[in-house]
Amino acid sequence: MPEKRVVLKNCGVIDPKDIESFISNGGFAGLKKAMDMTPSEVIQEIKDSNLRGRGGAGFPTGLKWDFASKAKGDEKYVICNADEGEVGTFKDRVILEEDPFSLIEAVAIASYAIGAKEAFIYLRAEYHYLLENLQNAIDQTKDKGFLDHVNIIIYEGAGAYVCGEETALIESIEGKRGDSRPRPPFPPSEGLWGKPTIVNNVETLMNIPRIMAEGKEWFNSIGTESSKGTKVLSVSGDVNKPGVYEMVMGSSLKELVEDLAGAENVKMVQVGGASGRIVPFENIDTPLTFETVLGAGGVLVFNNTRDVIEMVKKNAEFFEEESCGKCFPCREGTKRMLEILERLTEGTASRIDLEFLEDLSETMALTSLCGLGQAAPNSVVDTMEFYREEYESRVNDKVKV
């Protein structure tokens, strides 16, 4: 299946600083259509489009909006998650750089649909250089009279991966540490300042104006049975042409990595960033869908010269640093995991360490409070399955247990 531009339709086409160029490319057609419908009709349209979240979890977007719209209270919030901290992911950056207007249009539609008078765009601190462009897009949209129903505020993060997790993000907007909250309650019933809140990824929102303008049937005609639309993938690592590629859902990883990005001598690919799953070369035909591998669409390619354990250790190092420390399995687990992987690379690991590693992975996946700790063992579990011999060969039988 080919590349197709739905989300990135305007990227590289319009002038991201000039609303007129956006409008002459069909800008605000989706918002105008939405405003002619009732909020519940808009939500029904999104539900029927079968759009699912692009931020990693794949939750049905229309359903989330429906929960928030039906939750009690007059004060509701829309949050756009532009924290993009997953290693190897930069698609939201490209969108913010090249088509901020579509994102503002989307936030305006979402706010109308759930009845929010205030919306936030949570922008990671590392993307501060994009703020001016984004604020400019908000100001120009406001001047055109498209934001009379909602006030859109950019809120900047301060450097913390876990703040991309929606409940930690909410804590951060409230001005606190980004510790994730236990759930339930989920944000659509109790989110920002205890009020019904929807949190959606940048890319998810980008689909909204397109769906409103072109219709749910059109969107349903793209992709596979349970993964509709396209996915924007960020490809990096051992490839000749790193960058973002928008593919129809169900396209093969091989097409992306080898044909488009020009990878050679591939050993393995990690899909979904540091928390993603590992695809060994023999499975490179795997289709990209929610049911197989996807996450937020960060695609890291490793060639034959790379050491699997070394790469997994880099992931472990990342999680050890980024764990918020609130729950025990993640706080302690990420530390122990890194220690064992260090022993393996240093040649001081005993056979029992492999068993520890397996047990630890299972415990963390099952008992961590949020997705950070739950997904941290993914690359360990997968590589222990596909590259068992590399682990075995690192065990030092002289080390006493």
Partner: protein, 148 residues
């Protein structure tokens, strides 16, 4: 310093967001000294502990003195695959400091960071708010000259 913090607090009146206040104080003072933290706590009517919790959680906030220019070199996997360690070595040598240190003239602080979303231009780094990608040792030396 006291004046600066007072000004920030005044601008944020009715706002109890510790993070927003600290971000502004840091922008003005370059870091968050102990006195500023106590003053913020008093101004917002929260404990010093609560303010410290926030100040030490976020990597862009700093309770230690930072140089005029903060260099953050990305060390996450995509940049690691493109030999970011060479970039680190070059900067260390050029500035005569190690990771986590600040030059004697307070001009530069050097830090490592996780992915900054520029992996298509790996290896990458930030100086203050600016991103530099596709780095080589020669390029880094040129870039540093602009800040010296």
């Amino acid at each position: 310093m006291e004046k600066v913090v007072e000004e920030v607090l005044n601008r944020h009146n009715n706002n109890t967001s510790i993070l927003s206040v600290l971000k502004d104080v840091q922008e003005k003072c370059r870091y968050l000294p102990e006195e500023a933290i106590s003053q913020v706590a008093e101004g917002l009517g929260v404990s010093i502990n609560e303010v410290y919790e926030v100040a030490t959680f976020y990597s862009f906030l700093s309770t230690g003195l930072l140089g005029e220019n903060v260099i953050r070199i990305c060390k996450s996997t995509p940049c690691f695959l493109k030999s970011c360690d060479v970039i680190v070595e070059t900067v260390e040598k050029e500035l005569g400091i190690g990771i986590g240190q600040t030059t004697e003239d307070n001009k530069f602080s050097l830090q490592l960071t996780n992915c900054i979303g520029a992996c298509d231009k790996a290896p990458a780094m930030m100086i203050n708010d600016k991103i530099y990608g596709n780095l080589t040792s020669e390029k880094v030396i040129e870039i540093l000259k602009e800040y010296k």
